[in-house]
């Protein structure tokens, strides 16, 4: 018990200051993907739609519909299409409307 006390004093306050100040550990969090419309083709889009385990991606014509609410940040879409998909770094994702979490990304890549 005294050892624990002394160690704690040495380490100092570890409580995060969030939300008053940003938290450094947030950089290591897994986050939903961000897409590069220029690299997205219909084929790439179909490939990443098929690989998503959580049905967060769907293609409607030339629009890639991404549901950030359903995404589990597993990284499979980034592994399947590393040029088109990267990590967004966004983790402050709370929304008051469910529809605000569903985003449309244009498929603007060239013909395969």
């Amino acid at each position: 018990m005294p050892l624990w006390f002394v160690r704690g004093l040495r380490r100092g306050v570890v409580t995060t200051r969030y939300p008053a100040r940003p938290d450094g550990s947030a950089a290591a969090l897994p986050t939903p993907p961000a897409f590069r419309p220029g690299q997205l083709t219909r084929d790439v889009a179909d490939r990443i739609v098929a690989v998503c385990p959580s049905a967060a991606l769907a293609r409607r014509g030339d629009i890639l519909i991404f549901d950030a609410g359903t995404c589990t940040a597993c990284g499979r879409c980034a592994a399947a299409a590393p040029d088109a998909v990267t990590s967004s770094g966004e983790w402050e994702l709370a929304a008051t409307a469910r529809s605000a979490l569903v985003k449309e990304i244009p498929i603007a890549g060239g013909q395969p």
Binding site: Y18, P19, P37, G69, A94
Partner: protein
Amino acid sequence: MNPASDEAQASRRLQEQIADQFGRSLHIRTLDTGSCAVCEQEIRLLSAPHYDLNRLGFFFTPAPRHADLLLVTGPMVRAFDAAARKTFEAMPGPKVVVATGACALGGVYPKDPFVHGNVGEVLPVDVWIPGCPPSPLALLHGLSVAVGRLAERTPGLTFIAGGDG
């Protein structure tokens, strides 16, 4: 208590009311509707010294009668419908419902004879917190949004790289 997208003004007024009433002290009741319990572990971490939700005036309570906010995880297993409804009805108004975790938002488990898939089918959800699991920081962000301390950022996000995230 359920601000639909067209009633933005009413929801803003409600948010102000909520911020006013829950500003300093919010009592949270967690509800597991069939989750894998990892979301629960993250929620439990909120009480740990690193995140310490008590410093923000948030407290956990087991009694719905004493609760202001219902934090729901899990894909809303159909067998749990009645209990979830009872818990919600046992909370005195004003009350806020927060659904958290990919399961509760409709992911991972599609609708089938045993599972609703989406908490919104049974309870009127006010704030949705995605994540699998949502980190304690994301939970803190979501709870602060729920009480009106922080503004939500999601409407402004595009998830387009090279743009605004």
